[in-house]
Amino acid sequence: QSVLTQPPSVSGTPGQTVIISCSGGSPNIGSNVVNWFQQLPGRAPKLLIFDNIQRPSGVPDRFSGSKSGTSASLAISGLQSEDESDYYCGSWDDSLKNYVFGSGTTVTV
């Protein structure tokens, strides 16, 4: 059971916007920044969003992050077939003294 809860799957059609939620609690998202990762099939995870809203260089601006209270969201606008992937949120947990990953969301286009 992951500390951070994500929907198992989200789907959309090309060009649409999909939003992936990540629900946590006070010790993790409520107190620390959130990162988002994309894991393409058979590949290592890749940083997509850091510090809640920042995009590393090279990540398209179709990907955006937000955070409010103990929840965070990743929005993918202008959905493309290459966005089919697993997505994970992550945050430090002050109570567990662990980094925690979300349960993961599979995006289908």
């Binding site: 990162n35 995870p45 940083l47 590393p56 697993d86 992550g90 003294k97 662990n98 990953f101 993961g104």
Partner: protein, 115 residues
């Protein structure tokens, strides 16, 4: 260019020991923590813990404390993950990554434990 390059796939029997490696290039290993992450077949990411190469300070996730050992060799800019006695349930892909934002990841090492 920063890279984390991991050692190759391993096939082991239950009870055997194993050490896999993660070699850093493009930056000095001692300047940043290194994390280990497990991904069991068809499952999500699990944070195993982190090691600070300068002084080998470690933080293990409770789920992995006592099950694995982290170490580093600063002279070759390499971090290691060690099992003294593997179980079938250790079958997984293991990634090293660079906290705090996890901006760089190794390619993963597949460990298969089967009799």
């Amino acid at each position: 260019e920063v890279q984390l390059v991991q050692s190759g796939a391993e096939v082991k029997k239950p009870g055997e020991s194993l050490t896999i490696s993660c070699k850093a290039s493009g930056y000095t290993l001692t300047s940043r923590w290194i994390a280990w992450v497990r991904q069991m077949p068809g499952r999500g990411l699990e944070w195993m813990g982190i090691i600070y190469p300068t002084d080998s300070d470690t933080i293990y996730s409770p789920s992995f404390r006592g099950q694995v050992t982290f170490s580093v060799d600063k002279s070759i800019n390499t971090a290691f993950l060690h099992w003294s006695s593997l179980k079938a349930s250790d079958t997984a892909i293991y990634y090293c990554a660079r906290p705090d934002i996890y901006d760089y990841w190794g390619q993963g090492t597949l460990v298969t434990v089967s009799s």
